[in-house]
Symmetry: C2
Subunit: 276 residues, 2 copies
């Protein structure tokens, strides 16, 4: 059993890293296999998720670490079809939001803690600073990744939808979000359509991302190795090659490539986060 | 086997939520049990982690979702004892940084993608906006939570160390971090000391954090139920009770309660993130 898992894990490492794959050396368990197997699923078959499954997914989210036990995570379960359609439209026409078994919008939520502190006569000042907003975004993201892992352990596929921030003011209005909350992204959970071609995607080699004690810029040949692997992946998926030109540059060259997200600072301010 | 897991999971839900625990109704698997079992471990026994274990933990981190495959995650493995001691001091005297089997500092890292785009003749403008910095912090946090889960699946205990942001400029200097990188937090991974008393910690009930289609402020009795459960937990741990007064208010009442983090906006700017 462990031998089989070991072999699977080593194959997964090979898909991520190519010839640079580290040797797992017998390190293996079902959770590692699940984490390394992750791929984004953008096509879902019809199907619903049970209330118990959803409750356990949320419990997994809430079980993640949270800064000082502040628990900034709130989550909006969107099951109204008209509201799903509206969010799909706001995210630039993402059909997967309509098709998912469940669609969750994750909020960085300071509101209840602020209310509790105020109700007990305390002043509130720290929340005006950037670190407080950042801290709440980190908190909800630790939670959301646990939710993703929990959903995948139940056989579902997932996709995070950052494009909800493209028209964030309209999202806030559609969900009726109060002051001191901020929608960070959506998470679509659904039954994977076997026709979805996405596979385990190549990542930068560990020599690029791992540093020992001090930061070391990546070697040119390690970056070249990655571009070769990711471009091969896109070619095999029959998608446009040249990751730098067609993917990276298209998203960072101009402020327009942010598709509206260049305005989120104003939205934070309006939601009660001055970001000092 | 599934019956045993089911029973364990239901007990875990009871520890998180008390009488408000949802019914898992047979939903159970080893990964869910692992996620729901999480507790922060702050006391470690001596011991090292193998290179294969570390490589698989990093692979799990890199297997998480990443916005547009941008892979903003970098991680500094701190194994130099003097550097560990320096970081422990900067984080306010956290001995666990010295004692951990491995101490990782997670970076939101735009540097290599910017270099790749520049080297191919593209302009860079989008990175000047708040959303770009936020996006990279989200990316690294999805990764770091996967690393935490992977480490726990191997029997280690973990603690995130947000206090690295208290004296962030000194952390940047100690690790030699270049422009377009930002240290978000540390992650201590180690062998749990059985004497560490921390248990599964109560969280807000799901009625507080879960919303259906539109946001619903929490009911006063649900907040009161939580304060009762968390204060009972602290009493049983022989720690000061009154979560609102002793924990929450102490961290948000004044800007001084940020312990230096009120300056991180300037640090972002100096690291090449204007946060427009």
């Amino acid at each position: 059993m462990t031998d089989v898992l070991s072999t699977v894990l080593q194959e997964q490492l090979h898909k991520r890293y190519g010839a640079q794959a580290p040797v797992a050396g017998g390190v293996a368990n079902p959770t590692l296999e699940l984490l390394l197997r992750h791929r984004t699923v953008r096509r879902f078959l019809p199907g619903e998720i049970s209330e118990s499954e959803l409750a356990v997914i949320v419990a997994a989210a809430q079980s993640a670490s949270t800064s000082a036990n502040f628990q900034f995570t709130s989550v909006v379960v969107v099951d109204d079809p008209a509201l799903r359609a509206r969010l799909a439209e706001l995210a630039g026409g993402q059909q997967l939001i309509n098709d998912a078994a469940v669609f969750l919008v994750w909020l960085a939520d300071w509101s209840r803690n602020i209310e509790l502190a105020r109700a007990n006569g305390h002043t509130i000042e720290a929340t005006e600073y950037l670190d407080s907003a950042l801290s709440s975004v980190i908190d909800v993201t630790l939670s959301a990744q646990n939710a993703a892992t929990a959903a995948e352990s139940l056989g579902y596929g997932i996709t995070f939808v950052g494009a909800l921030r493209n028209k964030i003011d309209a999202v806030i209005e559609a969900l009726g979000l109060p002051e001191h909350t901020f929608p960070v992204y959506g998470l679509a959970i659904g039954i994977p359509d076997p026709a979805d071609p996405a596979d385990i995607k190549p990542r930068y080699g560990q020599s690029v991302v791992v540093h020992r004690n001090t930061y070391t810029p990546p070697a040119a040949e390690d970056l070249a190795d990655y571009l070769d692997r990711i471009n091969t992946y896109y070619r095999e998926q029959e998608l446009p090659e040249d990751w730098v030109k067609n993917r990276l540059a298209g998203r960072i060259s101009t402020k327009e490539s942010l598709h509206g997200r260049q305005g989120i600072r104003n939205t934070f301010n309006r939601q009660g986060f001055p970001l000092k």
